[in-house]
């Protein structure tokens, strides 16, 4: 595990330097002068608590996976069990069908979001320093996007197993690895970087960290809203275009 080795190396070097300095003081009597002192300030989380850093980042991950899986299954379930015939034989349009599916899961996901926020603030004691309304507005856009991702995946899967597994790998991996959850997107390389730049989780993560830890409001974060606003119609249009009105 390279990160562990790096941390160990940092500590060993620090201890070594400290010991040398202490020895030098003992032998030569005085502290060495003319040195540079680096005052490190850990901003937003001065005590460096992992809970404060992690909780705002986990909320976007959960709001990505659960709504998208449930939405994808809700459509594919009908395909597998045959009740999708209702879509085929009635004059319902594809968009109506999809939006109808989506709205209930958006409501569910928003309940989810409120529960998560309450849990974060009251149980985990993570302070919400910025505006809750900003966070809630972003969450609404975000869950519309994540449920729409579920819809997109549902259009090209025919079995529930494939929908479940497909949604899990297509959402979990980008959300955990390419969205700034561990390393900021600007530090990534190659394909991961490209995915990270456009993936909704990246932008909601910025907003969640901004409102929870950095005491920011809409005026500071509006640039992160824009990609979410673009993602929503693109994803919904894509799923409407890919869904077949008639079985082949």
């Amino acid at each position: 595990m390279p990160s562990r080795a790096e941390t160990v190396r940092g500590y060993v070097q620090g201890m070594h330097a400290h010991w040398l300095a202490a020895q030098a003081r003992q032998v030569f009597g005085s502290a060495v002068t003319g040195q540079v002192v680096i005052e490190t300030r850990f901003r937003y989380n001065p005590d460096v608590k992992s809970l404060v850093a992690m909780v705002p980042a986990v909320i976007p991950i959960l709001l990505m996976m659960i709504p998208s899986i449930l939405t994808a299954l809700s459509v594919v379930r009908e395909k597998e069990l045959g009740s999708i015939v209702n879509l085929y034989v009635t004059p319902t349009t594809r968009l109506e069908f999809l939006l109808g599916k989506q709205i209930s899961y958006i409501v569910l996901a928003m309940i989810n979001f409120v529960l998560l926020s309450v849990l974060a603030v009251f149980v985990f004691r993570v302070p919400l320093k910025g505006g809750f309304l900003t966070l809630a507005a972003a969450a609404l856009l975000y869950v519309i996007a994540t449920t729409a991702m579920g819809l997109v995946i549902s259009t090209f899967t025919r079995s529930q197993i494939a929908a479940l597994f497909g949604t899990a790998i297509l959402t979990l991996v980008p959300a955990m690895q390419f969205s700034g959850f561990i390393d900021p997107v600007s530090s990534l390389e190659g394909v991961g970087r490209v995915i990270g730049e456009i993936y909704p989780t990246t932008h909601f993560l910025t907003i969640a960290r901004g409102t929870f830890s950095k005491a920011l409001n809409f005026s500071d974060l509006h640039t992160s809203f824009l990609p979410l606003l673009i993602a929503v119609p693109v994803l919904i249009a894509l799923s409407a275009a890919l869904l077949k009105k008639q079985e082949k």
């Binding site: 390279p2 080795a5 040398l20 659960i66 197993i161 561990i182 390389e189 991961g192 970087r193 910025t206």
Partner: protein, 373 residues
């Protein structure tokens, strides 16, 4: 128990899976492209960290320090003024902001201590810590070189030489690739067995099984061997072709030994999948239940963060999870070339956990299969 029944039922499982083209594509994707991208995208410990510098001193020394930050560890530093610093960090543009005050070089040359301020965005845990260590040693290095007028040659009285064993370059790809396979193995084996059971229940084909002269034990064993064999096959393929071939990660230990370890792990996780399949009544329920089980299994297994740094209570509980032992044995065999003499405790644990999960699931499966139809 009839071996031929088990064999045929297992082949039936594989056939019904093969018919699902999207599913097969997804399985292949998760063991090839997904392993490759997450292994290569995952940056080295410190890679292109965004840094901004507020240079109020504008002296030769501060210019030296600015020039000392360059890729691959850091992005070229952005020179900003104090007013922008907070806004940029708020927007998440910089992880580090270094403030070099007026009179920095003057103070140092006069033999006084000079202070620079390093602001770190602590919401980015991993980069924040490694990065500030690097920045510290870069600044110290530049200052010392500058004060002495030449690059330091005199070594400290007692020098420290560090050697990183088993992964001398501390290459993240080596680590990430194998861990990605391990995570996929666990996820896929649980999903495949559990979902196969739910699918039979939702389609009513459990009834077909019940009227056949097969026992619940045979049904369960057939599902387990079929899915375990499939996952074992694709994971070994991925290890050989993607990890060793394409990513050129050296594999130290014996592959057959690793295959046995994987098989034992799969015995446990497929039993777990069956167990979840007997609890959930529909696929959405199973999906959520799987999240509840899979996330802690993966996050706490030691494949993401070192086990030693978890609370002891969590470490103890996670001993009951098959992942923990699988991660330990995979790291030991694949990276450090360990043999059976080293990893036998993990093998024993996996056998015990697997048998416990198997018998527990079997009991539950026997009880619930009648109500599934």
């Amino acid at each position: 128990m009839h071996v031929s029944n088990v064999l045929h039922l297992g082949v039936k499982e594989l056939r019904s899976l093969m018919r699902d083209v999207v599913m097969v594509a997804l399985v292949i994707y998760s063991f090839t492209i997904s392993v490759y991208t997450s292994a290569t995208a995952r940056p080295e410990t410190l890679n292109k960290a965004p840094i901004a510098i507020i240079d109020e001193d504008r002296s030769p020394l501060s210019a030296r320090i600015v020039d000392a930050f360059y890729p691959p560890y850091f992005l070229p530093p952005k020179l900003i003024n104090q007013a922008d610093a907070d806004a940029r960090m708020d927007a998440g543009l910089d992880t580090f902001a270094l403030d070099i005050p007026l009179g920095f070089q003057r103070d140092l040359l006069a033999g006084r201590n000079a202070v620079v301020q390093l602001n770190v965005d602590a919401t980015r845990m991993s980069q924040a810590f490694t990065g500030s260590g690097y920045i510290q040693s870069i600044i110290n290095g530049e200052v010392n070189t500058f004060l002495q007028g030449y690059r330091a040659k005199d070594r400290p009285a007692v020098d420290l030489v560090l050697r990183a064993r088993f992964n001398p370059e501390l290459n993240q790809t080596w680590f990430g690739a194998v861990m990605q396979i391990i995570n996929s193995v666990t996820m896929l084996s649980i999903i495949l067995t559990g979902a196969a059971l739910i699918r039979e229940r939702e389609h009513g084909t459990v009834e077909h099984l019940l009227v056949m002269p097969v026992t619940p034990f045979e049904i369960m064993v057939s599902k387990i061997w079929a899915m375990a064999a499939l996952v074992l096959g694709v994971s070994l393929f991925s290890l050989l072709v993607i990890v060793r071939g394409l990513l050129a990660v050296p594999i130290e230990g014996s592959l057959p030994l690793f295959a046995v370890g994987t098989a034992l792990h799969l015995f446990a996780t497929t039993s777990l999948g069956i167990f979840l399949g007997t609890i959930a009544r529909s696929m959405p329920q199973f999906g959520l239940l799987m999240m509840l089980v899979l996330l802690p299994l993966q996050v706490l297994s030691g494949s993401a963060t070192p086990r030693e740094s978890m609370p002891e209570f969590v470490q103890f509980i996670m001993l009951a999870a098959p992942n923990t032992h699988f991660v330990i044995l995979a790291q030991a065999i694949l990276y450090r070339g360990a043999g059976l003499a080293v990893v036998w405790p993990q093998f024993i644990s996996l056998i015990l956990i697997g048998s416990a999960l198997f018998s527990f699931s079997l009991a539950r499966f026997r009880k619930t299969i009648g109500t599934m139809a």
